[in-house]
Symmetry: C2
Subunit: 437 residues, 2 copies
């Protein structure tokens, strides 16, 4: 992509309305624009990152055996009356009346709808276990939306729903998602700690939140200091194995949100306990028959008996993850994207547009890097080098390749790694070889 024609409205000033760094940087880097309170348009740069995060979430759901479908945003109120949640949900639910005066709503979550789909088609225990997920826009009418995409009203969520014949099988489905979530965060360059959590309006008795430690986190959390160094995935089993030992091992290391933490009964010595702020980036629930019983989602068991299915639900905030990644990975100059979700792999900076040799080398590199399968942002704008360096640091691509007439005279270009600031002068061929290795 040539930046001369790319729609990338970066800002020089720091937006005063943004309270946290991820919100400020997303606005400054031209990634989002607020269109109403807590509602955002994703500009091309932000959209590219959103798609990359979504794809990693999708791949890990598929690898864990979940199947993708897509439910609509607008739901019927009647479904929510069946579960009893229509009145419980309060003002956070965006309620809508259509032209025929039917009561509808913009889905904040999909337990009722997926249970309805399930009961329409699945009749036998032989069709279980089943895990269905979708990645769809949700709406929660927050009274005070803030922190940009971290606490918006319209947000993109992946929600999965598992259906099992009994509690043992349901536990196994829960553990599969538990592992899939840890793998997802690792691929996003995030360290997320699973914490015992309250189940809230979703219900059930087993629940974990996945929390990123960050000073700007919305909730207080407590964990054993061992979590600071731990790589829980190092010895993680294959998803088809027995996951109970792995699950027991990980959850034995203390971590709890402040609703669950009780200083009086906490098993960790005070000197070993870390008290911090955290950002929730996922929440999983095992809620048994809370929805299947009232909604009559039953299957025939081996002896023909009617059995309400055991369910769980598993949510990841896809759009919120973008904010969380930036909170975890930035410096004073801007964002530092992990390679896996960077909007482009390489930023190619032409220091003197119009200089024949510089233009020629840049175009040659641009073509060859793309041919090697890399996404390249080619800064061919007629701007001062300082502005180009600042923008490139701001948008945080993993590599910067700087080409100018002075370097070319000595036969070199400069390659900079955004995360470390490390710079290296090398020949055009060597730079190409290093980036495409």
């Amino acid at each position: 992509m040539r930046l001369s024609s790319f729609f990338l409205p970066t800002l020089k000033e720091t937006p005063t309305e943004a309270q946290i760094v991820s919100h400020r940087l997303m606005l400054r880097a031209g990634m989002i624009r607020q269109t109403s309170a807590g509602i955002y348009a994703w500009l091309p740069l932000g959209h590219r990152v959103l798609k990359k995060i979504e794809q990693i979430v999708r791949e890990e759901q598929n690898a864990a055996g979940a199947q993708e479908l897509l439910m609509p945003t607008i739901q019927s109120a009647d479904l929510w009356r069946e579960s009893g949640r229509y009145d419980d949900y309060g003002k956070e639910m965006l309620r809508i009346t259509d032209r025929h005066e039917r009561e509808m709503l913009f889905g904040p979550t999909n337990e009722e709808m997926i249970t309805d789909i399930f009961r329409s088609f699945v009749k036998s225990y032989r069709q279980l276990p089943l895990n269905l997920y979708h990645i769809q826009w949700k709406f929660r009418d927050e009274i005070r939306p803030r922190f940009g995409v971290m606490r918006g009203r319209e947000f993109l969520m992946k929600d999965a729903y598992s259906f099992d014949i009994d509690a043992d099988s349901a536990r196994r489905s829960y553990q599969k998602m538990f592992l899939a979530y840890l793998r997802t965060y690792a691929r996003l360059g995030l360290k997320a700690i699973p914490m015992r959590a309250d189940t809230g309006p979703i219900g059930g008795d087993l629940s974990h939140e996945f929390i990123i430690l960050a000073e700007t986190g919305e909730s207080g959390v407590f964990c054993h200091k061992d979590w600071m160094e731990l790589d829980v995935l190092k010895d993680a089993p294959n998803v088809e194995d027995d996951l109970q030992p792995f699950f027991d091992q990980v959850t034995a290391i203390y971590a709890a949100t402040d609703e669950k933490h009780d200083a009086a009964t906490c098993p960790v010595a005070e000197s070993d306990l870390v008290s911090a702020r955290g950002i929730e980036v996922g929440h999983i629930f095992n809620f048994g028959t809370k929805y299947s019983k009232p909604m009559n989602a039953v299957v025939a068991g081996p002896n023909g008996e009617s059995i309400p299915v055991e369910m769980g639900s598993y949510g990841i905030g896809v759009s919120r993850l973008m904010g969380a990644i930036i909170e975890a990975s930035h410096d004073d100059n801007g964002i530092i994207w992990p390679d896996s979700v960077a909007p482009f792999n390489v930023g190619l900076i032409n220091l003197k547009v119009g200089d024949a040799e510089t233009d020629r080398v840049c175009l040659d590199l641009y073509g060859k890097l793309q041919a090697a399968g890399l996404d390249v942002a080619y800064d061919d704008r007629d701007e001062r080098p300082g502005a180009k360096f600042a923008d490139m640091d701001l948008i945080g691509l993993p590599w910067q390749l700087v080409v100018g007439p002075r370097g070319l005279k000595s036969g070199v270009v400069e390659l900079k790694r955004r995360a470390t600031g490390e710079k290296e002068e090398l020949s055009v061929e060597a730079a190409l070889a290093k980036l495409t290795a």
Copy 2:
């Protein structure tokens, strides 16, 4: 994907509520489920096709130089008051009041919002031309939703918006999209005829609908019989060339919707005129300054003067296209997917699950076909051969590979092409070679 665990609720009975063949087949093939009037969930098979159609639309937009972003579904009523369309739109607009009593709406289209984004960031003619698009769910509260996804209330649309400094440049942007649309339909296996059309509530003076001829089409259309045989893309220029001669050549061949057609002035002799029914699968508009003037979307021209931008918008109904493809490509036994959008490339049918040699050969083929990059639906269900053949014809995968003990004794498997019904017995190796060629 193994069909034994794939969520594919095919129906044996023909659903009585469905009036047209695409709706019936999508329900029978387990692709969709209605969740409210005119609102559908996309089950895994339908979702796979939806994603493939979306990706082809995206690739052709990108190839034409349009840039993808993503606007939210919920918009502020105030924006629509600026253009004057808030009252015009009537009951088809889903109006919403949020918890703070602010008037919102579920976007039926995005001219106002994109114009607002544009005017916030683009200040100079040097930033033009610009074409921004998104692929997002829309809502139109149809009084009588029908024909399944062909006329639903919540639907997926790609809408692009072009911004140019003058009418000449705007015409060029329009022609680029005109060509991109023709290429998109060709890749989807559809023959779409561009027809002069009314501009309706979008406005403007130049507009084309792209129409698929089909008996179940919702509108009457007229065209020269030359369209029946024509391949307009045969001599189509590169998108960077001057497109005017191509555009003139294609639009010179008569084609018009019934609103635009007038028998008294039609230049085509009656014997050369085809009168038919058509399905609209795209609509493009050049509407000049209809939105930029009231919304003050102006840029500085070369001499510093303030110029309202010339705009166009370009819509393709992504979810509706699935219905249109099925209307155009099916037989009595089910759907016949074009290769480009098939949910899987190959259906692998195991005729005797539990027979050691049949299972072994199937598993071997399943692995090798997937390793070659093909999407395979492996029917390993414990069902009669007749049920498997019927389901496979119904879901319409391009190739069926049938493996059974009797054939294997003679060293052969059967390969069937769904579109033609052509069958061929050949060795396992030869079948593999043919499918992966």
